[in-house]
Symmetry: C2
Subunit: 403 residues, 2 copies
């Protein structure tokens, strides 16, 4: 896999390519918004701000083979390589890579750590230039739209006029929808997977539980824990545990764990992790805090809660896609109760209402929301087919805008 | 509503009726197990131990009109009267009362605070007679079977040879099933509502999140917070918030709250409770800690996790009901995802396999698990019909054992 090094020739005015200094995180970094700060949805101005991203494959001559992968709530830019912190495989290595469904021999894949994140892009753990101390809760609250606006600057910096595709699952699907709605001329197709056009009351509720768990941890210190050598890791672990249950399904949990005991023959009549599911959840909580910042969790969950594409268009979801030239491919999973099929179907109805090009498949699986991250042969097949068809169409309709 | 005062004539050998001393909680208390301690499932012996209960209606001459109501995880004995702590209506006042579905003009209704609870029955906040200090985690871990064994002693103390019915929702359903399985000769019918014969992996997972939230609270102090004037209320509130989501349904949350904002016109770009669902959940958490003990929450969730009727019978659920004379009426609710209909259906299959008398109804509602506590006319109608029919049968089969 070759890494693309942006030449900067078509950089946006104020983009500065920087090498990682503070940390040893692999990949690319840009400082953006020095001359032209980003106006956030809140009205606040953000700039300068750092954006960290990773690329796989090679951008072709006419810059027409770029696919932007948008990561989910706790994901990051390390899509298809060993994760620099956890040492685990990239989160979408099953789909993105040489010879894979999103073939990096053909496509130039970009993934950008979202605004508010903690893997190199500006977020609450960064230094606030105005105070010299970490932002904490002084970091501005951001939205999915703000994340996408920041991503757009990176794409412009790379000299890409039109992305071949924007794809993502879960919060990544929200970003793909926002991209299609906001910058329809900048992408040929959008592939929102296991997503929704707005965060449901139940999902806001689960996020609020996670946030309250973090804020209940005395080490959180109102978000100002960085300089005190503290970390609200117990609260963050509880937040992760609660969220993790929602990523799976009742039947997947039954299949994987059932009521099996963990390294014991009998229940112990105590509060140790008697059951495998308890041990598994505790492990999920513990390992998460090693790679994720608690304040970032607050900010990114909040961005998801605020996401409501229809509300941005006077309550009319079709208006978000009026006259859209974008080809849509939506995918949902039968056992996903966090972003159930009904949510994708609402988007399909809205797209149909404005005669947009849309295909929609619901995949039969018991793996729950996490199915988009797992080996799901039918999902891979659908995705391959759509990308192949879209590539043919794109070749036919290419007008040389990227040349 | 007249209160029954037990005359003690048929008391179990070591039962001592005591008036509330430590607290002003209304209702009855017994001290049991002084002479004959209770052998718990763990093998530990418990005794003496206090049991608090409440009654409604009048026990008839032949003691044949008693219905034992079993409460759920966070319920208590105040079924049909103003709650002494919260000042709210009794948790099942819609069903139990004069002229209601469970008519206290006809039936003598008993509800006993479960073992491990915090409303007068022995639990972790009580004084350990061996040390003179509160039990905390030295209280023995109890099971649904232990709760039922303690209840049996109260019923014996009241001189009741055979209960007309044992009824309960959620954990109350587990107790009703345990009663029917363990003491089939002691009840004429069992009505497990929104229950299961074993706690699922997903449900164990949610309980574990709640326990971890409590244990993560530094005020928990390993369970020894009572003497330090501390209370892990933030952890307990988070536990309650997470659990509360599971009691409702996605559609009920959508119907009740949707994405409506709380006392504001616009989102605030902050971490206040912008959405009504957030404000509602926070309120649920706050009000819960005023009436519930955190350690009791640990113990009772653990008892539910451990519940597995089939496992107690070599993995064969039908064996739990072999030859049972009990008439069963099971009820489930379509939108209940905590104790879904499939769980009730498994019990029905097991009962059919041993040719037990069973009727089963799934009620259409969008109210989720909490439906068993709410105004559900079809549920009330089913329950009335079953009780009427069972009462007729009981009158025919009465052999005077209670006389």
């Amino acid at each position: 896999m070759t890494k693309h090094e942006p030449d900067g020739a078509q950089n946006a005015g104020d983009a500065i390519a920087v090498e990682p200094v503070v940390t040893d995180l692999p990949g690319h970094r840009l400082v953006l918004g020095e001359i032209d700060p980003l106006r956030l949805a809140s009205g606040q101005m953000l700039g300068p701000f750092t954006v960290a991203y990773q690329t796989y494959g090679t951008l072709n001559e006419d810059k027409s083979n770029a696919i932007l992968v948008c990561h989910a709530l706790t994901g990051d830019q390390y899509v298809a390589e060993t994760h620099p912190v956890t040492g685990k495989d990239g989160w979408w290595g099953s789909i993105v890579g040489a010879g894979r469904t999103i073939d990096t021999d053909t496509y130039f894949v970009i993934c950008i750590n979202v605004l508010g994140g903690c893997m190199g892009t500006a977020g609450p753990k960064d230094i606030d230039p105005r105070t010299g101390a970490p932002f904490g809760l002084n970091f501005p609250v951001i939205t999915i739209g703000d994340m996408v606006a920041a991503q757009k600057r990176v794409i412009e910096h790379l000299g890409i006029v039109k992305l071949f595709a924007v794809i993502g699952g879960s919060m990544g699907a929200m970003q793909a929808l926002e991209w299609a709605s906001r910058y329809p001329e900048m992408l040929f197709c959008a592939i929102p997977i296991a997503g929704a056009a707005r965060h449901s009351a139940q999902n806001i509720a689960f996020h609020e539980v996670g946030r309250q768990a973090i804020m209940a941890d005395p080490n959180w210190c109102g978000g100002a824990y960085y300089d005190r050598d503290l970390n609200p890791e117990r609260g963050l672990a509880v937040a992760r545990m609660a969220a993790h249950i929602t990523y799976l399904s009742d039947s997947a949990l039954h299949r994987k764990f059932g009521r099996n005991l963990q390294d014991r023959q009998k229940i112990t009549f105590g509060f140790d992790a008697d059951f495998q599911i308890e041990s598994y959840l505790r492990h999920q909580g513990r390992s998460f805090v090693e790679r994720f910042d608690a304040n970032s969790y607050l900010y990114i969950t909040r961005a998801m809660d605020y996401f409501d594409l229809a509300a941005e268009h006077n309550g009319q979801l079709p208006a978000a896609f009026e006259g859209s030239p974008v080809r849509f491919c939506l995918v949902s999973f039968t056992s996903d109760w966090l972003f159930p099929t009904a949510e994708s179907r609402q988007i399909v109805h809205a797209l149909n209402a404005v005669a947009a090009s849309v295909s929609f498949v619901e995949i039969e699986t018991d793996s729950g929301h996490d199915a988009f991250l797992l080996e799901e042969p039918e999902f891979f097949r659908i995705l391959s087919g759509f990308l192949r068809g879209a590539a043919d169409q794109y070749a036919q309709t290419m007008t040389g805008t990227n040349a």
